[in-house]
Symmetry: C2
Subunit: 137 residues, 2 copies
DNA sequence: TTAAAAGTTAGAGCGCACTCTAAGTCAAGC
DNA sequence: GCTTGACTTAGAGTGCGCTCTAACTTTTAA
């Protein structure tokens, strides 16, 4: 096929480093990549798509271990085990939703604190100082 | 004051381990905690509130380094430097909002994939197999 | 009074996810 | 032909954020 990319091109395309690409292959996240006669890796379009999906799992906080499980399912049963794969993704989706909820909860406190500082600053502008407080600042 | 807690009580209250509490103090995230005559730490209510805020920063992904900067500002200028502290939190808020956006973007792909697996499974139910595809699975 | 539990410190160790190095092979341009 | 840069491997190193250990002291409950 015409579109066979070198490792460096794949790095540029996916945002991963060449080191990380080799690391992912070594630890089983990526199946063995085709080689040129020289032994150099030649990535196919499918490989790129798989790597792009992997990075989405990573960016949503899935640990390498779990990605390895998922990758193993895909590799061992390319045309089956959809139920298992789906279950794994559903569990992950739950984790991500939970993570977003937690971020939003804590973010609310940060919003509050920023506003609080605005008020204190305004006090400094008018009074020259702030009245003592025992609240954590 | 009546409400002076031991390190273990604070661990239970905040969800941090006693190790982490000592570590946070050692690296300057928490100012020196009062000691009993024995040398044992005695945490005041204010300390707990500060630690709770710290954990919100951590849980939203703020690195220890940045928390140290923030803690230093609070410690060095307890009744001033509101502008600087506010700027730091505003920058962090931006980072968190960005993080949430990214999670949501990638989550959409995971949703799609789950649905895709549902369809493939349905195909297996009716056809006994799936038609070959060159899309990454 | 004494055993067990909880506290202290300095410093070592760990798990994760990369990230880099060394020593060598291969490819592309002058 | 030769240099420069990209590629290969196995394995070592890094940074982060804890987490644990060893050796010791203090508190608590039986």
């Amino acid at each position: 096929m015409a579109t066979e990319l070198t490792i460096q091109q794949v790095a540029a395309a996916t945002g991963l480093s060449v080191h990380t690409l080799r690391y992912y292959e070594r630890c089983g996240l990526i199946a063995s990549i085709d080689r040129a006669a020289s032994g150099h890796r030649r990535y196919a379009a499918d490989d790129i798509r798989w790597i792009e999906f992997l990075t989405k799992l990573r960016l949503t906080g899935m640990p390498i271990r779990q990605m390895q499980q998922y990758a193993a399912l895909v590799r061992q049963h390319p045309d089956a085990a959809f139920g298992e794969r789906r279950q794994l993704l559903i569990a992950h989706r739950q984790a991500v939703l939970q993570q977003i909820r937690q971020l939003e909860e804590n973010l609310a406190v940060i919003y509050w604190k920023i506003q609080h500082y605005s008020k204190l600053e305004a006090q400094v502008q008018t009074n020259g100082n702030v009245k003592p407080s025992n609240a954590p600042v």
